[in-house]
């Protein structure tokens, strides 16, 4: 072996880096795993497998990369690799136009009622969880996979064995139902009106365009 550094020398640095960058993301990985598996025990196994793979392949992680996305990709790939091949159904039409119009109406109503900034409030979290649980199961599945599990539309379609167009239409309709419920909740709770703040536009790529 050439050089003066051995594997033992770099191990502490490597572990420290892994502990600093990867371990704090356990809640994010757990959320993705729960969404994918829809089963608590399987989710825990998947989280463990994800972190073991990440640790084994930590050398392939780029130091300036997005560790959350990297772990999410490992988690999803691991899950899909465990799944038997499922039938693939191609897209059909959907009523996206109607849902787009409805979504704009919800936003307009939120602005008129002074609760446009309601989603930034921590005390909305229990209401959001309850609203997701109340969704019709076929809608809740899509929300879990795409919004919580961070799957692409086609991945969610393959997982559920439904067309991509159906994933889209269920997703948009579910989101609108959630928004309507939360709007009613926020209005009833008397949330104060807050002036909207404008955050920078993302350059694209990052999931849900977090800023």
């Amino acid at each position: 072996m050439q050089g003066t550094r051995t594997a033992d020398d770099v191990a502490p640095e490597r572990d420290a880096e892994f502990a600093r960058l990867a371990l704090p993301l356990l809640p994010d990985v757990a959320r993705v795993a729960r969404a994918l598996t829809r089963d608590a025990a399987n989710a825990e196994d998947l989280v463990q497998d994800t972190f073991l793979k990440a640790y084994r392949h930590w050398d392939t992680f780029q130091p300036d990369g997005d560790c959350r996305r990297w772990l999410g990709a490992i988690c999803r790939n691991t899950w899909f690799a465990q799944q038997a091949r499922e039938r693939w159904v191609t897209a059909v039409g959907d009523d996206q136009e109607l849902e787009t119009f409805a979504a704009v109406q919800v936003h307009k109503l939120a602005r008129e009622q002074g609760v446009e900034e309601m989603f930034g409030r921590l005390d909305l979290a229990p209401a959001i969880r309850a609203a997701v649980e109340r969704l019709e199961p076929s809608y809740r599945d899509v929300v879990r996979l795409v919004d919580l599990g961070e799957l692409q539309y086609d991945e969610a379609a393959r997982t559920l064995g439904i067309p991509v167009g159906t994933v889209r239409s269920r997703l948009y309709r579910a989101r609108r139902q959630l928004q309507q419920e939360l709007l009613a909740f926020a209005t009833d709770a008397g949330f104060d009106a807050v002036r909207p703040t404008r955050s920078p536009l993302p350059t694209g790529g990052e999931r849900h365009a977090r800023s």
Binding site: E44, F119, L124, L148, H208
Partner: protein, 77 residues
């Protein structure tokens, strides 16, 4: 309306490059669509954050750390 109907796919990272660029340049110029975009983005972040608030993660973290230590991982002090 054409751009507005692309906002969910944009936020879901499901648009081809050309359309994504069109959405970005439109949002930079149109206050109405930008306001709607901010609302939808805040909604998706809130849904995700709400799911992260679940209990029971402590036990899972202990389990993961135990598995990692069997691979030689040493948690720094």
């Amino acid at each position: 309306m054409e751009i507005v109907r692309q906002l969910w796919p944009y936020l879901d990272d499901a648009l081809p490059d050309e359309m994504r660029e069109r959405v970005v340049s439109h949002l930079e110029a149109c206050d109405g669509c930008r306001s709607h975009f901010d609302f939808e983005r805040a909604f998706l972040e809130a849904v995700r954050e709400a799911a992260n608030g679940d209990a029971g993660l402590g036990a899972l973290q202990s389990r993961v750390l135990a598995a990692l230590s069997s691979e030689g991982f040493l948690l720094p002090p």
